[in-house]
Amino acid sequence: MTEITTPKGASPEVIKDDSMWKQKEMMAGHYDRITSAHENGLKVCNTFVPGNLNELIRCFGLVNNLPEVNAIQSGLRKKSGNFVLEAEKHGHSEDVCTYVKSDIGMMEKGNIAPNGKKFPDPDVLLLSYTGCFTFMKWFELLREQYDCETIMLHTPYEGDGKITKNMRDYMVKQLKDDVIPKLERISGVKFDIDLLRENLVKSAKAEEDLVWVLQSAKNKPSPIDAYFGGIYYIGPIFGAFRGTDDAIEYYKLLRAEVEARVKAGRGPVTPDGDMGKEKYRIVVEGPPNYTSFRDFWKMFYDEGAVVVASSYTKVGGVYDFGFRHDPTNPLESLADYCLGVYTNLNLPQRVDMLENYMNEYEADGLLINSIKSCNSFSAGQLLMLREIEKRTGKPGGFVESDLVDPRYFSPANIKNRLESYFQMIDQKRSGKTKGVAA
């Protein structure tokens, strides 16, 4: 049988801050909670990151399990390649989302969680169909596998670049008349709107600190990498911890660390320690590759490139333009959160956001990492690149890889393309050329 292998990470010894240790503990605890849920009499709800209703799920005492996060974990632990092959062996097309195939392949191979224990079968699939068509099919596939209850929350797309009253009313009505009654029945717990309000208050607190951290990249040098580092920073709030004390504590800790870095004029922390001199400030559009995550990151920091803003870190919620979960209008607020996640925005909104980042963060250019199996992100990115170049006069770069399929991460090609791109920025700065996409 074909074995897909990927190179080992860049360095065996990784330097971690306190917030990183805290997150590690949180994630480990979370996986233990999931894998022991049924032993402890808890029910498990599988749901997706964009448009997730963590505050609501917690009202029913359900444990939240996120298939994309599991696929990412498989990618980071270099297991996803074989899971993808396993799914393809069972008839899943080579053309479709590799998160889905990693998840399905993992099930075929025993459904083992990162803590080495078996994932429990979910008691309910809560499909928050937000910003990605594949989610709908993914949950139908999971339903076929688990034959359990499925709840659909359909989030309309912001086709005209705005949230209309009809969209919000539709979402609230689904929550009130369909989602909540079903969650009550499945969990056996009566819905308590005051508990939801309490959870939302906690969400907003953590969101405030997250935004502060992400916006700290406006400093020069930037104290954070808002893409590679940013992916760690969004972990708790996009995953299972929004609306918890743990999340508040994590972001408080993180903010204090970043504040100290700003004060000391230090750049981002990388797996190899502090980054050297900041030479390039980049905005990145698109998800990363997870099978060679550290190698990919190293290609940036070795060149002195820091990502100052990214769209991927808004995929589980856009908070940096003012939205906060609002306990005074709990269901409307959940609706607005779902409607406003990055992949639910139309293309002109996405371009406007990137243009804003280019200007606000004083970036040298926009780089797109286009993902082979993610049409929600990828379709239209070449036009987005042109638009940003036209509007800002800054050069755009374009590389291609995949989420968790190592076959589509070609290190030499990507490194070569990135080096050319950084050279192009140098030339642009010295006024030698007009901006052309690398």
Binding site: S93, C132, W138, L347
Partner: protein, 389 residues
């Protein structure tokens, strides 16, 4: 040339004309007329018609158009229909189109709606969302309001109000059109040797560019003339072809299936022409009626959520029984998320019902038909030789 041959030739001309001469002529015939394009899989054409506009189906560029500019907008791993649609746009072939509707079918077409807004800012462009919740006072209310917003948008574009009476008249015409298309499908299923799949496809496809009144007349005539035709009945197997609901297969692919020994007795091509399975009532609120029809009497396709596991794939199993089909051919466009993600689940439903199937991929510009013909031919032979029936 017989009357039937004349109709078929007219349909072929319309199919091959990527400058949309017929639609341009319709628009030029009276000042102030507007044309509104729509992409797969479904939009309520009645509303466009009621606004006095021509609904124009846009299904990409097929295999006759060279895509030069369109490829610059898409990576190699995106399907072909958006790039050829962009090509139609930037090459000026759609310069007479006043509005474009992009239905909720997949992320590629969804994002194309935003691209259209950026590239053609003077065109009325709307992403047409439909509910995935089928409860009357939840998804139904939402959809009725979405239809009302579409009405408002077209009223603004056309500069006049759309009355309920106009909507009812248009619904009646499209009820008739859907009934006629269903009749064509029933006719083909009963006597497939008299209704070659390619001819049926072109006949229905003509409805993408012609006014509905003219298309209705054309179908009626086609049915009358086809009944008279005497063609030999071949020892073909009866198949349903699934997965073709968005990017169109080359005409040669459809012909190749029959040449390989398969009578196509049903398919999911051009679904807008028979999306609503029953007549939409003419009494009462027209938008409410359209909404109810979508919720409770519309086609199943991969772009829709199926609320229960038991129902998943059953539309195909039922179609096999209804049409007396002996197998299913899954023909899916490369990189088509809806078709390819759905396929394993549909195949699982067929397996449980002991219905044989095969699968292959295509693009609208696929040129090599030999592998497809061989695969379909082997499938037909295996059904004839080894099927329990």
């Amino acid at each position: 040339m017989s009357a039937l041959e004349k109709i078929n030739e007219r349909c072929l001309d319309l199919f091959e004309d990527l400058h949309f001469k017929a639609a341009r002529e319709w628009k030029a015939a009276e000042p102030g007329r507007k044309v509104v394009g729509f992409m797969p899989v479904y939009v309520p054409r009645e509303i466009i018609h009621a606004a006095g506009m021509l609904p124009l189906g846009i299904t990409g560029g097929g295999d006759q158009m060279e895509v030069i500019h369109g490829d610059a907008y898409y990576q190699s791993y995106i399907c072909r229909i958006p790039r050829s649609t962009i090509e139609l746009g930037v090459s000026g072939r759609l310069d007479f189109v006043d509005g474009m509707l992009f239905p909720s079918i997949c992320d590629v077409i969804r994002n194309l709606s935003g691209m259209w807004k950026l590239m053609f800012p003077n065109v009325y462009t709307r992403y047409f969302d439909v509910p995935q919740n089928y409860i009357d006072d939840i998804g139904g209310n939402y959809y009725t309001q979405e239809l009302a917003e579409l009405v408002e948008g077209l009223e603004e574009l056309g500069g006049r109000k759309i009355t309920e009476e106009q909507l009812r008249n248009s619904i009646a015409l499209y009820n008739e059109n859907r009934a006629l298309v269903r009749e064509v499908y029933d006719f083909r299923s009963k006597q497939p040797w008299k209704a070659p799949a390619a001819d049926v496809y072109l006949l229905v496809r003509a409805g993408y560019v012609l006014p509905v009144e003219e298309h209705n007349k054309m179908i009626r005539e086609w049915l009358t003339e086809s009944e008279k035709v005497d063609r030999p009945l071949r020892d073909n197997c009866r198949v349903i072809v699934a997965g073709l609901f968005c990017e169109q297969p080359p005409l040669n692919l459809i012909k190749s299936l029959e040449l390989a020994g398969c009578y196509v007795v049903d398919d999911d091509l051009l679904l807008v022409s028979r999306w609503l399975l029953e007549d939409v009532p003419l009494e009462g609120d027209p938008l409410h009626n359209l909404s109810q029809a979508f919720l409770h009497h519309s086609e199943e396709t991969s772009a829709k959520y199926v609320p229960t596991l038991a129902e998943k794939g059953q539309h195909l199993v039922r179609a096999v029984a209804k049409r007396g089909a002996e197998g299913v051919i899954f023909a899916s466009p490369s990189f088509c998320d809806p078709a390819l993600l759905d396929r394993p689940m549909l195949q699982s439903a067929l397996k449980k019902a002991n219905i044989p199937f095969i699968a292959f991929k295509y693009a609208e510009n696929s040129g090599q038909m030999q592998p497809i013909r061989e695969q379909a031919g082997t499938f037909a032979d295996s059904i004839k030789l080894w099927s329990e029936a």
